[in-house]
Amino acid sequence: MSADDVAGELRSGMTVGIGGWGSRRKPMALVRAILRSPVTGLTVVSYGGPDVGLLVAAGRVRRVVCGFVTLDSIPLEPHFRLGRQAGTIELTELDEGMLHWGLLAAAHRLPFLPIRAGLGSDVPRVNPDLRTVRSPYADGEELIAMPALRLDVAMVHLNRADPLGNGQYLGPDPYFDDLFCQAAERSFLSCERIVPAAELLAAGPVQSLLISRALVDGVVEAPGGAHFTSCVPDYGRDEAFQAEYVASAASPQAWQRFRDAYLSGDETAYQAAVGRFRAARAAPA
């Protein structure tokens, strides 16, 4: 299927989990497809990066569920900041480990999982629905009861997949992409290249087959689909373009210029515009 087909499966108000971590291996082609769709009012669950920032900037997000939103090499995500400071988005702010536990609970069809993280902090203050649970054993320890974070849809980007949706990561970290898919009603996987199943094991060990086709409802071939986030070993983060993205948060006019330059067409047009950006930088002054 195409990235636009994936966006077409979404409905306004859905809870969408997005894989990757910070500005690393984010399913950006799928995010860009959402920007071309009429979908809005999303609850986005993410180890947040520019996926969150772009969706917030485009006004598609009602609530963000996260422990952070960052661009890694640039610590603060400018569009997420603007949304928070303008009060245009709601936030469920969780410890990183709590987010992990919420996804694990959902994947295991449990109502909650106990965790120590969050005790004594202001996370319970800003999440008044959060409860604690007492161990029924002799220790009687009181812990946070992290509720399951059930997702309507998960979106992830991997290096390779076969046509049935067996997904392979070739970089150093799987992040939590498998868990996002396990926690979701339906999952969509984009990848740099769709290859025959036999080629997957030629590219990496069997442990690199992170996601089973049993979890996947659609596969999209999207070369450069994580751009401008990293997708090693296929490519690293495009730091120059990330800086261009950050500059787009300087003013409404700057954001409009960025939209016009990069987000007004389809994915092919985006990649072509990125190519022109690179060529302009490489050209002698």
Partner: protein, 245 residues
């Protein structure tokens, strides 16, 4: 400069290194350049068993060779197991060590959105935590933080019995001094001032009453071997000086 004449940044590197003294084979997670140099210096000298990650998903040994795999999912397990000592930054820090990296102002509509709580709540209830503050000021050292991310000793004391048994705030290293939480009721205490800094300067740059002992030691200077390692091996380009600029 001649050996023996350490810069302030070099004193800070060694002060950060001291945070990990005696920690054994646990993951050292330094946030920031100078804490990173400190952790690597500690491993090259008095804490050889420390584990250090490369910033992605590998554990690297002192020679820069990969010695293990540490994806984020494994980091979370190390955190919960307590086999880690992190040195985090702080946008705000109060006298009992409550730390804020989330946002400034009212959480519901912040004046400045920062990183978010990240792993600070879990870190502070699970394993030792230290802090690095490159600019010691009343903006950072405040009477009350706007959002408690890492929990301090007063919050830990208010938890149900046993819940805070793994809570330990080790050191706060700044550009001016080293502090700990051995004041009355685990309040922040001035532990040492860096060479050339007075206790009065540190007190003036701190927005709450600081516990100051009668005699304040001077932070130790790097040994000649430590200086050689910092300058020759760990940071030959001198990036450490920019973090304090």
């Amino acid at each position: 400069m001649t050996a023996g004449e350490a810069t302030r940044a070099e004193v800070c590197v060694v002060a950060c290194a001291e945070a990990w003294r005696g920690d054994g084979a646990i993951l050292a997670s330094p946030m920031g350049l100078i804490p990173g140099l400190g952790a690597r210096l500690a491993r090259l000298t008095f804490a050889p068993d420390l584990l250090l990650a490369d910033g992605e998903a590998y554990l690297e040994d002192a020679g820069g060779l990969i010695e293990g795999w540490l994806p984020y999912r494994s980091v979370f397990t190390l955190v919960a197991a307590g086999r880690r000592h992190v040195m985090m930054g702080a946008a705000q820090l109060d006298r009992y060590g409550n730390q804020n990296i989330s946002c400034i102002g009212d959480w519901a509509r912040p004046k400045a959105q920062l990183l978010g709580v990240r792993g600070a709540p879990g870190n502070t209830v699970n394993h030792p935590v230290s802090y690095w503050v490159p600019r010691h000021s009343r903006r950072v050292f405040v009477e009350a933080v706007d959002m408690v991310c890492g929990i301090g000793y007063d919050r830990a004391a208010g938890l149900p019995p046993g819940a805070a048994r793994f809570h330990e705030l080790r050191l706060v290293v700044t550009n001016l001094a080293v502090l700990d939480f051995r004041g009355p009721g685990h309040a922040m205490r001035l532990r040492s001032v860096h060479p050339g800094v007075t206790a009065a300067e540190v007190v003036a740059a701190t927005g709450f009453p600081l516990a100051v002992p009668d005699r304040v030691p001077v932070t130790r200077s790097p040994t000649p071997r430590e200086l050689a390692l910092i300058r020759g091996r760990l940071d030959p380009e001198g990036r450490r000086e920019q973090e304090l600029a």
